[in-house]
Subunit: 281 residues, 2 copies
DNA sequence: TTGCTCCTCACGTCACGTGAGGTGGC
DNA sequence: TTGCTCCTCACGTCACGTGAGGTGGC
């Protein structure tokens, strides 16, 4: 069945390490075509060289082993190409994400004490709305958010609705801690009726502190930090769910740096924390 | 000493997970400003929020924890900025590397059976040369290679040398297996004399098989694979060191796709492998 | 016969995530 | 008092790398 070569030779000509080849054997990614029963020596056939080259290139592109395995066993060329295309798309997104993260860092370092946006207190009135909610894992929030935001805007247009304010969101604190939680996106309406996945809800009145965040959602931690520090300084008691009002977003401009979000954190007056009560007594 | 907040609150406003904060405490990256002796509860001060934001951004840019620690403890702003700049440079290189890897993959998939370069046998004559050698870890080879190649070219120019052939390299197989080994770069000369780090050597005569590699060194595994498969098919015995002749490289064009390298693998006639001997007997 | 190659554990690395099982604070 | 938050292990993950200690092939 043709000549075979040892791990060492195979490593040399594929530019993979012997340790790596043993690992690829162990996880079943590239098992040697023959293994000596007595000595355990691995022997590779020459047509495994091409697969090794493909694997090396895909690993250089940070494709997970499991995905590479899927590429190798893809039954048709079109299915294989689809998997590869999908990964290149992921890389493309990764590159963009990195560019954004670099901008984010520059912004943080540059505009340190420029003019930090104001924090104001406000009372949000009771409000009817048409809402789509979901219980989510933290990792899924961003994808869900942009998809659902688009869905609600489409609904506003197709059903000819007349929003009484910007589309808003309500998020469990847990989601920002990378824990599972619930998220809701809504459009304020005078008389909301169920359409598709969207259901009418009533937002209760709420005392909130508000700040404006300009830029990508990935930088919204800056606004959350402002609010959180304010809450601690004023000894307020933060509510468990945070509201966001989307004043300008993907619908208005593709440039995330121009997006504007108002972030409103419900609070209760906390002039009487437990320690202060204890102090009084 | 000012208000403090719990891990949970700190996690919410910094958009880090509680688990991550505990880890950053454990490794000393972001220890809480105060820890309750009785309960072990972590308490963070408000001015730690800014550092948390910086850490989050640097981690998003895949900066290792140790490097982030260095940024945080940098005594002066200029030293800190230098560390940040260095990391952004690394990212920049990473982005380029990814682009190249994508091209490499496309090339592999596209030009599958185009016209695979020929393999020829040849006898390289004994040859004098001026050489720079080093014992290297595999990870350092690329950097050493480009630096030393430039150094030799500079030497040729400054000393007005007259090379008898292209600048060449000799590499232990081990280096391609990601193991430590020795590498040598050399310029063939009629009468080489020591200059700086460069020493005269004599290349012994060698029977080699040769193939041409066009493109980036990162794709040279393709040429090595061709040669390796040929060696196995012909039952030749490969030598432990491989030679490369740089016919076109960074000195000629910045576009790696246009680089041309001749790869020559020394061999011994191996018509008599052990199995064949056994067969004869 | 001597090295060299190859083998198998077992453990380390990096930056966390995932439970289990238990305590503290309001 | 009840939940909720917080705590500490211990272990898992991903893709290998690093020895230790030993055997096989020419």
């Amino acid at each position: 069945v043709g000549p075979t070569i040892t791990v060492g030779q195979f490593a040399t000509i594929t530019h993979l390490s012997v340790k790596t080849l043993r690992y690829y054997h162990e996880v079943g990614l590239l098992p040697p075509s023959h293994i000596d029963e007595h000595s355990g020596y691995r022997h590779y056939s020459l047509d495994q060289v091409a697969n090794a080259g493909l694997i090396r290139r895909l690993r250089n592109l940070r494709m997970p082993i499991a995905d590479i395995r899927a590429v190798l066993v893809a039954p048709t060329r079109s299915e294989r190409d689809e998997l590869l295309r999908a990964h290149l798309d992921r890389l493309e997104r990764e590159l963009r994400t990195t560019r954004v993260a670099i901008e984010s860092l520059r912004a943080l370092l540059g505009t340190d004490a420029d003019h930090p946006p104001q924090i104001v207190r406000r009372t949000l009135p009771e409000q009817q709305a048409l809402a789509i909610g979901a219980a989510l894992a933290a990792a899924d929030v961003m994808a869900w958010w942009s998809a659902t935001l688009a869905e609600l805007r489409a609904l506003v247009h197709s059903e000819n609705l007349h929003p009484l304010g910007p589309i808003s969101g309500i998020f469990d604190q847990a989601l920002f801690r990378h824990e599972p939680g619930t998220a809701t996106l809504l459009v304020p309406l005078a008389d909301p009726k169920s359409i598709g996945r969207a259901r009418p809800i009533v937002l209760p009145q709420a005392d909130v502190i508000v700040t404006v965040h300009t830029g990508s959602p990935h930088d919204s931690d800056l606004a959350y930090s402002r609010l959180g520090c304010y809450i601690a300084q004023q000894s307020l008691i933060p509510g468990p769910r945070i509201r966001e009002h989307y004043l300008r977003d993907a619908f208005d401009t593709p440039d995330e740096q121009e997006w504007i979000t108002e972030i409103a954190w419900p609070i209760r007056q906390g002039g009487t924390t437990q320690t202060e009560v204890a102090h009084r007594i």
